[in-house]
């Protein structure tokens, strides 16, 4: 029902009634009473707010982005920081300078680049780098080599160079059409200067030999002064470094063949190539939210053994079923298949729900789970619409009770919003351990497209009040039944161990609560020890890393909350399964394995990139890229 039921005006009602009371009493009493002047509340009238902002109206050029006033924008940005972190201001200044370094104008006459460089780097600045003998080969095959600086190497492995070394590095990056990206992950402020720990990623391509460096630099800066507002780099110290050299670049570099595969379909160009930010301009809010939470499912809808793909999309943009043809291209069959749903769709699964050998379709069309039966030829008939009263996210299917029918688990993120136009950010309380999220559902397949909500019955209502984004089934304890891991935004995750169809949340004792902003889950035996390990996509926040380590952070909060907040900013987690049948236990290998920095992660997946038998990882990330560059 699209309407909310509670009155938003109850306070006004009371105010007015109180004044009625007074008037009536006045009538009822004699002389002495008539003096009664105790009006508890007077009616409240809405005050006109003063409009101080100026409107600026410009002629509109249809295809040109609106110009924005930079100063006003910066002011906005300042206003967005509700707490006034001094360290954040410094980090912003340092970040601007680093950004200058990554865009030095080498294309212009020599002195321009030098001048730009000197505006950032002090003339007597030094760069401490590792001696070549401090580098060690960690992996090497015909495809690529991985070398790292040895953390046990002593400080004298460093050598000091002038800033010219840095200039040369930047020039070679520019000349090879590579790039250098900086991210400040920690900041220390002292009286005379401040230093930033900067994650630096360098990409140096060449035809035969593509290099990628991931390093941490400690950059020491002058503090800004009245005389000089810009901060200047005094010293760069390379803390650690990893270099990957791709020896056969074309054998490792994935190729974007999308246009070849999809360009025969009008929907590809018109619907899929524009991003959600474009559609936000052009489509009414009634249709779509701005977050782009639209999933997809790979499956073989016509039984030819070739994978096809079902792509969920925003409201007003039909979901697409692209069916693979013999030549490897794909044909948009969504209309003919009857699955071109226009409703805002989130997650989808292609699974055989009635064991007739074809792939049926499940789509989360909030708040309803839509279930369609396949005829085996790639045409679908809607069989069930289950109103789950929740904002759903990922779907995960498994036969939890081993009755031969595949059951469906649905992540419920938010409590369903009463107001459908109010689909904004969630409102987690408390932010670091929220328990006011939506309910997840386990829908038991009863056959014939009948489903029963057995969530409570099987024990899955334990801690079922979080902001769940993703879930993945896996028999992690290798006892023959499917266990379930659920990744929750704003706090702790769940690991539900399946014991004969009854579940118990053992995330705590198994040490996989992973106190963070969980977005995705993947399972694989990455170390080939025969046990399934767990990877969880979280939100790596550079700002979070900086802020949560500052002393001023959350002065009222107890220390546990601060620890949790720091943990939340750490990024993705890798949990190595070290348990036994009797004792489920995982070891946090995120940092030692070097897989925590997955940025603002969404989808994550174990993939063996080169068929070497070892599972690699891919992480899709990035939250909201809108037209303005400056980030919140």
């Amino acid at each position: 029902m699209p309407y909310q039921s509670r009155s938003p005006h109850s306070t006004i009602r009371f105010a007015v009634l109180a004044s009625c009371c007074w008037l009536l009493i006045g009538l009822a009493c004699g002389l002495g009473c008539r003096q009664d002047s105790k009006t508890p509340v007077t009616p409240v009238r809405a005050q006109k707010t003063a409009k101080t902002t100026s409107i600026s109206l410009r002629p509109l050029d249809r295809n040109q982005a609106n110009h924005i006033n930079t100063i006003a924008n910066l002011a906005n940005k300042q206003a967005a920081h509700h707490d006034n972190w001094d360290s954040e201001t410094l980090a912003e200044l340092a970040s601007q300078q680093l950004s200058e370094l990554s865009h030095l104008p080498f294309d212009q006459p020599q002195d321009r680049a030098v001048a730009a460089f000197q505006a950032v780097v002090a003339t007597n600045a030094t760069m401490d780098n590792w001696q070549p003998n401090a580098w060690h080969v960690h992996y090497s095959d015909a495809t690529l080599q991985v070398t790292r600086t040895d953390p046990s190497a002593t400080a004298n492995a460093h050598r000091s160079d002038t800033s010219a070394v840095l200039m040369d590095l930047l020039r070679s990056i520019h000349d090879s059409q590579g790039r250098i990206k900086f991210k400040i992950v920690h900041i220390d402020v002292s009286d005379a200067s401040f230093s930033t720990l900067v994650r630096t990623e360098i990409y140096l391509p060449s035809e035969s030999n593509v290099r990628q460096q991931t390093t941490h630099w400690t950059c020491t800066w002058t503090l800004p002064s009245e005389r000089k507002s810009a901060v200047q780099l005094q010293r760069v110290q390379v803390e650690d470094a990893e270099q990957v050299t791709s020896r056969a670049p074309d054998q490792l570099h994935f190729q974007d063949v999308t246009a070849n595969v999809l360009s025969g379909n009008a929907s590809y160009e018109r619907q899929m190539l524009p991003g959600i930010p474009e559609w936000m301009n052009a489509a009414p809010k009634e249709f779509m939210s701005q977050f782009g939470y639209h999933g997809m499912a790979v499956g073989d809808v016509n039984g030819d053994g070739l994978d096809d793909i079902y792509v969920c999309d925003a409201g007003g943009l039909p979901n697409r079923l692209y069916v693979q043809q013999l030549d490897g291209t794909a044909k948009d069959m969504s209309a003919a298949a009857g699955v071109d749903f226009l409703d805002d769709s989130v997650g989808a699964l292609l699974i055989d729900l009635d064991n007739d050998g074809d792939q049926d379709l499940v789509v989360g069309v909030d708040p309803v789970l839509q279930i369609a039966e396949s005829d085996g030829q790639g045409r679908f008939t809607l069989r069930k619409s289950l109103d789950l009263n929740t904002e759903s996210f990922s779907l995960a299917a498994a036969d939890f009770d081993q009755d031969g029918l595949t059951d469906i688990y649905v992540c419920g993120y938010n409590l369903r919003k009463k107001d459908p136009t109010d689909r904004g950010l969630p409102f987690p309380v408390p932010y670091f351990d929220a328990t006011n999220g939506g309910r997840n559902f386990l829908l038991k397949n009863q056959g014939h497209f009948e489903f029963t909500d057995v969530t409570s019955q099987v024990g899955l209502d334990q801690n079922n009040n979080r902001f769940s984004m993703a879930a993945a089934w896996q028999d992690f304890d290798n006892d023959g039944d499917q266990d379930l891991y659920v990744a929750n935004d704003f706090g702790r995750n769940n690991l539900y161990r399946n014991d004969g169809g009854q579940f118990q949340d053992i995330a705590g004792p198994a040490q996989v609560e992973d106190h963070a902003s969980g977005m995705s889950v993947a399972w694989a035996d990455y170390d080939r020890d025969g046990q399934l390990d767990l990877y969880v996509g979280n939100m790596f926040s550079a700002a979070g890393n900086r802020i949560t380590y500052q002393r001023q952070f959350a002065p009222q909060a107890h220390s546990q909350a601060v620890g949790w907040m720091q943990r939340m900013a750490r990024g993705n987690s890798l949990f190595r399964n070290v348990g036994s049948n009797q004792n489920s236990r995982f070891e946090d290998a995120s940092l030692s394995a070097g897989v925590n920095m997955g940025r603002w992660a969404w989808g994550c997946l174990f993939v063996d990139f080169t068929n070497d038998g070892w599972q690699d990882l891919v992480v899709a990330n990035g939250y909201l890229t809108n037209e303005f560059q400056d980030d919140l």
Partner: protein, 721 residues
Amino acid sequence: MSHSPANLQDQSTLPEYRAAWQATMKLLREGRSFSGRERNCAFWNCQDGTFANVSSVTGLDFADDGRAVCASDWDLDGDVDLWLHNRTGPRLRLLLNPTISPNRSHDSNDDTSATTTSAANRFVAFRLQGTASNRDAIGARIEVSLSDNSAEKQPPLIRCLSAGDGFLSQSSKWVPFGVGQKAKQATVRVRWPNGQFEDFGTVSLNQRYELIEGQGSPQVWRPDRSIPKLIANADANAARRVDASRIILPTPFPLPKITYQSFANGALSKDNREIRANQPTLLTLWASWCEPCVAELSEFAEAGQQLTQHNMRVIALAVDHLDQSHNSQSTAAANILQRIDFPFDAGAVDRESIDKLELAHSILFNRQKPLAVPTSYLLDSQNRICAVYHGPMGVEQLLADLELLQSETSRRDLATRFPGRWLAPQRQILLRAVSRLFKNNGYAEDAAAYLKQDAEALQHIRANLTDENARQQFDQQIAEAYFNLGAELLAANEWSEAAEYFQQAIAANNAHVDSLVNLGSLLAKAKQPQQAIRLLERAVSLDKNAFEARVNLAGTSLSVGRFADALEQYQAALNIRPDATWLHARIARTCLETNQIQSAVPHLQAAIQTDENDFASTLCLAWIQATNPDNALRDGTHATELARRLADMAANDSQRLMAADVLAAAHAENQEFDQAIATLQDAKRLLDNAKRNSNLEPMLRQRLQQFQANEPIRDTDGRYP
């Protein structure tokens, strides 16, 4: 970042926290980014427990807002390709894995191909079919043990078949195994979803197999094709723009009150007008310095007759005077319109109207750009926005859209740019929320208008419902809607109108307590106590804890002399809310009305304690303590004290007179007859000064005689005479 409150009950920081979230939303609507332009990551398994960052060397580090990632060996060449689904454009990417490339003369149909690419890693892939287990074999665990020439025994490779992992993703049901270079063959064991193990024996490499539960032997599977040669072209897969110049709304949006000062004869007139479209109308915002605007208006002017024939009119509202970056005035706009002989209504729009239109945009669109000119709104004959045009549009488009909007096609379908099927019924814009937004921005009149339309929209929907249950549910909502509207009007002191809507709320749901309370109270105020009492009694019977209902019921009962009822209701109200101490005064006075003086005294004391400036209660208590025949109730000393306080409090002659009278009585009670007489004579002078021919004079004279006879006053009635 604002501090997160520790729990939902922590009211101190909750609003601030919510405001921080909302502020973030607002910035996003304005086009700001939030962790945007982040490059995807890829990590290489170094086989020693560590991973290396290969985001760039794999070419996977697109700066997309990545969301879903699915694995699929799309071209069936033996390595795993990736599908990415992004928020930003391009929203789909198929990334072909270059490990095994058709260009390297590899053919998966050829068992011996492994020899031609001896240095290459090999694979084996399986498709499973459950028979006892679920047909897809979701949950199956496949173990592949490799044997090579070395004696070294490795633990098996493990892959599991899942349906849904990562984020909003489901990967292929083909289960791929990369097996490296050394292995020659592999043995396969499956643990089926029902927990049973099954050995499938040995399989060849660089081959695909079907494994069927219970069959025990793998079946080779080959596609009906060779490996397709797909062409990489990342540049062709690039983001596109969407034309946002014309947007049809799925739900017509009621225009807020838009006012303007009209133009006449090339100048501003004194005529202030409001837009109330009762025929199709194009509302255009423009400025004299905006060339496309002038061109567009000229076109409308030329087509004036044609537009009129279609019952269509234009209202051109100039914004010249509102803009600070252009030094232009409304008269410039008025001049232009006179020059082009603009045949329609025009004027200078006021700033508040522009502000309201921006509010409307924030409701209608996720992305809110600053309002620019020309922006036009196509209004229907019910004064609702049906389409929004950014930039100039022209007569042809206007007439085409007019026809479109009058057609049978649903607005939602017209608003959708692609054919397809909707599953859910259309969502309504919640006018209640619209109302709240306008109210919060200081537009109470618009807020009330939206509430009214909210209620009407509900009525309209209800009228089309056939299911009785659904109707009843709607009645609840309708009642709520009318109540909200009534409450809004109450706040604006529009009492009779408010009463009308409460009446409607009760008509929709005769058990709507809040409406019963409010209507009852308003009727009481309108001196219709019997009707008021009926409604309020009903409210109380529906909700025993309806505090306001009880208070107002008590008040109304008092007004018709039903003192016992009044007392009962007041006392019940006080039980509901013991902190409502202001009730004590009312209870006390009700007690006094029924001559329950003993009961009244503690309430009078409580009333004075609550508010020491409560003149009436102090007066009553002092009078009782000075004059009541009951020895236990009298307290001359305290009465004197109270009477002095009354004198301090007295704000006019009448109160001063009463204070003096009571003080005199208190003195008399204390046997201080001289002082009593003196006080009374002061009072009498006060009365003389007032020169009022009062009936108090005989009373005072009588008191004086009593005091002169050393006789205190005795009054059985607790009320001050």
